[in-house]
């Protein structure tokens, strides 16, 4: 009798399904939270809702056809994804990219980083509970950037603009003025976000000290991008293994100290300012005219047998392309190393022991793109 009564009044852990259709899962991510009252005791993530087999598909496509699929693996920063892919092909085929094309690629990638981070700030702001305002701020600036991308590449998200060897076609004639115009507006957007969040007591109280991950754990989990830099690990492919012309520009690798949600937010915000600095330097150093493709390009690109693991710094972290060729005009094996997949692994470590509301913020702070996680 006593035990029965005890069981009747025992509290039970509640399993809460967050996702795949939940307002704050940033796509089709599902996690089951085991909560005791409001405290998260366990997190079980489920991914794969957006798995399309891009790797397998690319094995049947020649190198040019694969570009479109790479766009779709990382739809918020498609230039960065394309870049990784075409550079992997160039490494294998031994193509020399004209200097001007490299500068243009670099500008576009940094602009894409800006647009991706604006998206993060907007979505993260909504996660913290501001009614829509950050989202519109983010989209306002992103729209300016996307308009520019559309003028150059013709598409707003899936650019298909980088090609092995260079670029598909040249940029528009008023490219430099337009970029200057856009980064000016982006600077205003960063200022708005800074004013809205950085000092706001409620935001600070909500984000500081939660979602902590130590530098050792972050390295162990293979995290990358702003998520690991917030823990104080200065890991940045742009600086450590410079590609394009990153060795010729001056920028700082932004790191945090506390490894918490606020630092991940602050790192991204600061990183955007660094991106603007990089773009300004690129604009100064870039020639107005010049070739954007090597003079002799085969009609159908073939690569010698071999393999290369090409990594670049995408907005969410290290975006790697492991390309294995057996001498044909198509990849023998293509593996996309997704930054979000590795970052997402640390979710449990970061959110166990927090409140439910904090777990949502932690998920928001690692800025996942599910199409990249699932590919």
């Amino acid at each position: 009798m006593v035990t029965e009564r005890a069981r009747e009044f025992d509290t039970q852990d509640l399993l809460i399904n967050v996702g795949p259709q939940h307002p704050s899962t940033h796509g089709v991510f599902r996690m089951v939270l085991e909560v005791d009252g409001e405290l998260v005791k366990d997190v079980i993530p489920y991914i794969g809702y957006l798995h399309r087999g891009a790797e397998k598909l690319c094995e049947t496509m020649d190198y040019r056809q694969g570009i479109g699929f790479m766009d779709r693996t990382e739809y918020l920063a498609a230039f960065n994804a394309e870049l990784s892919y075409v550079m992997a092909v160039e490494e294998l085929a031994g193509l020399e990219v004209p200097e001007r094309a490299q500068w243009i690629r670099m500008i576009l990638c940094e602009l894409n980083r800006l647009s991706s981070h604006f998206m993060f700030l907007g979505a993260f702001g909504v996660d913290t509970g501001v009614m829509g305002t950050p989202f519109i701020y983010g989209w306002r600036e992103r729209e300016m950037l996307i308009d520019l991308f559309e003028e150059i590449s013709g598409d707003r998200m899936m650019y298909a603009y980088f090609r092995p060897g260079g670029l598909a076609w040249d940029v528009t004639r008023n490219f430099k003025e337009r970029v200057r115009e856009v980064i000016k507006s982006s600077a205003q957007g960063i200022k708005d976000f800074d004013g809205l969040f950085t000092e706001n007591e409620i935001f600070v109280a909500r984000t500081k000290g939660i979602g902590y991950i130590s530098a050792e754990d972050a390295i162990d989990y293979g995290m990358s991008g702003p998520s690991i830099r917030a823990s104080g690990v200065p890991l940045d492919v742009r600086r450590d293994e410079p590609y394009l012309k990153y060795s010729e520009v001056d920028f700082q690798v932004v790191t945090g100290q506390h490894g918490d949600v606020f630092d991940r937010y602050a790192c991204r915000l600061q990183e955007m300012r660094e991106s603007i600095k990089i773009i300004e330097q690129c604009l100064d150093k870039m020639a107005d005219t010049g070739p954007i493709m090597p003079e002799k390009m085969p009609r159908m690109l073939r690569t010698p047998p071999g393999e290369v693991y090409m990594r670049t710094e995408a907005p969410r972290g290290e975006y790697g392309i492991y390309l294995v060729s057996n001498g044909g005009n198509r990849p023998y094996r293509l593996k996309v190393r997704s930054a979000c997949l590795s970052n997402l692994q640390a979710l449990k470590q970061m959110s166990v022991g927090l409140y439910v509301a904090d777990a949502i913020l932690v998920l928001g702070s690692i800025d996942i793109v599910l199409s990249e996680v699932d590919r």
Partner: protein
């Protein structure tokens, strides 16, 4: 409280700015020349026939296999008393817009500049109730160019300005 006041002032400053949204179905944003909607075929106004000869180049290059091309002998060819120099001409052409991923490869591989990406709003506003209605046939693909309602931009791979 200082930070809260700062956020309130930030939102207040946007309160006084001009709205950034567009009244979409009534006001369309001007599309850039390079805008890519879906591919369509171009009409040779001089000879009054399509540029396309049905050479299958685009069909072979399409990564998503959204095109179907059939060619035929040109009934308007000079040898049979016509005005055209094209020996072969397109007979039937279908593009499944539901599958097309707008990668522009078909435009790049075309040897006759016969295909271009639609850069008008007509190409974007294509919602239908059935996927089958997104399979466009030759007449549909040519209609816009035939009516002169498109200013095509055919990019050449790696072309520079000028």
């Amino acid at each position: 409280m200082k930070g809260i006041a700062r956020s309130l002032m930030t939102t207040l400053s946007t309160f006084s700015r001009k709205p950034v949204t567009r009244d979409y179905p009534n006001v369309h944003k001007p599309l850039p020349e390079r805008d890519r909607a879906f591919p369509l075929l171009l009409w040779d106004q001089d000879i009054d026939e399509p540029f396309c000869t049905g050479c299958h180049a685009c069909e072979r290059a399409c990564p998503v296999e959204c095109m179907t091309v059939l060619m035929k002998d040109n009934p308007n060819h000079k040898t049979v008393g016509g005005t055209s120099t094209r020996r072969k001409i397109i007979d039937k052409f279908w593009i499944d817009y539901a599958r097309c991923m707008r990668c522009n490869i078909c435009v790049e591989v075309c040897n006759f500049d016969a295909i271009a990406m639609n850069n008008t709003w007509t190409g974007h506003e294509m919602s239908v109730h059935d996927r089958k209605d997104l399979v466009i046939d030759l007449q549909g693909l040519l209609a816009q160019s035939r009516a002169g309602a498109i200013k095509e931009w055919v990019p050449v791979l790696g072309q520079t300005n000028e």
